[in-house]
Amino acid sequence: MGLLKIDDLKVHFPIRGGFFRTIVDYVKAVDGVSFELNEGETYGLVGESGSGKSTTGKAVVKLNDATSGRILFEGQDLSKLSFGQMKPFRKDIQMIFQDPYSSLNPKKRVVDIIAEPLRNYERLSVGEEKKMIQKYLDKVGLSPDSMYKYPHEFSGGQRQRIGIARALTLKPKLIIADEPVSALDVSVQAQVLNFLQDLQEEFKLTYLFIGHDLGVIRHICDRMGVMYRGRLVEEGISEEIYENPQHIYTKRLIASIPDLNHEMREKKTNLRKRVAKEYEQNHSKYFDDLGRAYDLKPISNTHRVALR
């Protein structure tokens, strides 16, 4: 039994138009996505901008409302809950955000930022709270005297770690990490990724890791799903998808990753050309007449692909 099961999730945003500003169409940001997260694993959602990967993540924590479908967390459907009813579940599902600058309130001290979730759920004495915060600051590698500083006194990587500490204080089971390293430089990115892995081990966390950098996703995720225009086109064990992509979009995505080995240049260029050609020729094999990807079909126990 998975920890989180997403079943045919749809998130549609209305487009208003015409004479009376009525709803004329929908942006189908997420259009029928199903996948499952097992306890303790890291599941990666990868896709380009506008593919609906972030919207999916935000639907789980109710930052977006699901239009239809189910979001089962430990067997309980979250999609029908109101903002208030969601409160007890928020303890178990936390989120890490992309932008280390805007995700921390600039007017609050670190101590207040990290204590915010604690104050919402638990009644701790000032001393207990302080001890807790010091513990988590220590976990993310920040010195205890950073408690009384303001976010602007930290670098991007340190801020991101403050954000992680904040998400940890309630001892969540699931963390939704929405592009947590894409705003960071490579060297800082490495640091944050390491922290995420260490913490996963220590706190038995499950991650839903959303990203666009395939290198990072491959590095950190056990399993992953590839999203394209609101649909999952391929899903399974990361290793398998990288080594043996089946859907044309996945192939294209992987072929596009620039290679650190400069001697592979020509090979890469040729590969891209080949994939582009296949993309044009076999379009109907992968997409229906409306350009929508087909439903996922298992091709092995661990690998599902959207094929006709």
Partner: protein, 339 residues
């Protein structure tokens, strides 16, 4: 050996912050030849974008000071008048910016924005300008150029806008194009297309390209020569082969090692201690990378680190590279970035 188009000697760019000047680009020297892609790579705050804007002299000149020489075809463009510089901008040197949405005027059609370049640098008739613009749009791979000609930037996708940006830069057949993070704002599939496009244009026009980027894999894909910058200085410079197969400077090696790749699967990534110093409070005396490799003894660094030519065309700053090893690994164990 191709002849150099641009030669930069001891270029120093300083910004005025609270009435004091701080060097963002610190005595940088390098050259770009015809038909060559030189990549300038480094993390944010290393001065690479300041370098790009200095070459074009696009900084706010009330709070920026540029010293040293930038010789474009034997002519020092640091000292020429603004009017003379306008004859070089757009015509001889083109530039591509990072954000294709904000870099285009929202109220002007794509066609007008490209034609503007031709208006100020050629004597083409109106009709000829239009034809040339459509030719350019075709060249950068825009599917329906005549339609796009009359469209506004907001009607185009990010990739298409960046193609428009490129056609503005190459409109007058410049001999040098500066691409300042041209693919950072784009998706990876589009990034690949834009890089291929730049390469194919270069093949046709033989122009030199300075590619500014933070992404080492992009560098590995397209560059001929690589300049690694740290804290405003060049710390290592060499051919793409030298940099990627035999990196020497501790910073280059650390950077390469921290990139997640196939080999690092689920393993811990290499982390560089500390953080990039800000230009306001940095120690400009000794090796600027030394605070981040504290386990290397002080005497391994030079007192005022210089660039040393360790192999033909391969330059490294400071002598600390000779003594550098990764913490946790045996001293003397040779590791390059990739493995």
């Amino acid at each position: 050996m191709e002849k150099p188009i641009l030669q930069i000697e001891n270029l120093t760019t300083s910004f005025k912050i609270k009435d004091k000047y701080y060097m963002a680009v610190d005595h940088v020297s390098f050259s770009v030849s015809e038909n060559e892609i030189v990549a300038v790579v480094g993390e944010s705050g290393c001065g690479k974008s300041a370098l790009a804007l200095s070459i074009m002299r696009l900084h706010n000149n009330q709070r920026t000071k540029i010293e040293g020489e930038i010789k474009y075809r034997e002519r020092n463009i640091v000292t020429i008048s603004e009017g003379q510089m306008n004859q070089i901008r757009g015509k001889e040197i083109g530039i591509i910016f990072q954000e294709p949405l904000t870099a285009l005027n929202p109220l002007m059609t794509v066609g007008d924005q490209i034609e503007e370049n031709l208006t100020f640098h050629t004597k083409l008739s109106k009709e000829k300008k239009r034809l040339r613009t459509i030719e350019l749009l075709t060249q950068v791979g825009i599917p329906s150029p005549t339609r796009t000609y009359d469209q506004f930037p907001h009607e185009l996708s990010g990739g298409m806008r960046q193609r428009v940006m490129i056609s503005i830069a190459i409109a007058c057949n410049p001999s040098l194009v500066i691409a300042d993070e041209p693919t950072t704002a784009l998706d990876v599939t589009i990034q690949a297309q834009i890089l291929e496009l730049l390469k194919s244009i270069q093949k046709e026009t033989k122009m030199g390209i300075i590619l500014i980027t933070h992404d080492l894999s992009v560098v590995a894909e397209v560059a001929d020569r690589v300049i690694v910058m740290y804290a405003g200085q060049v710390v290592e410079m060499g051919t793409v082969k030298q940099i990627f197969t035999k990196p020497l400077h501790p910073y280059t090696r650390s950077l390469l090692k921290s990139i997640p790749s196939q080999a690092t699967n689920k393993k811990r990534l290499h982390v560089i201690d500390g953080m990039v110093p800000s230009i306001v409070n940095m120690n400009r005396e000794s090796c600027r990378f030394s605070p981040r490799i504290p386990w290397i003894p002080c005497n391994a660094h030079e007192e005022s680190p210089e660039l040393h030519e360790v192999a033909p065309d391969h330059w490294v700053r400071c002598t600390c590279y000779k003594h550098f090893y990764f913490k946790g690994l045996q001293r003397g164990e040779i590791t390059n970035g990739i493995t």
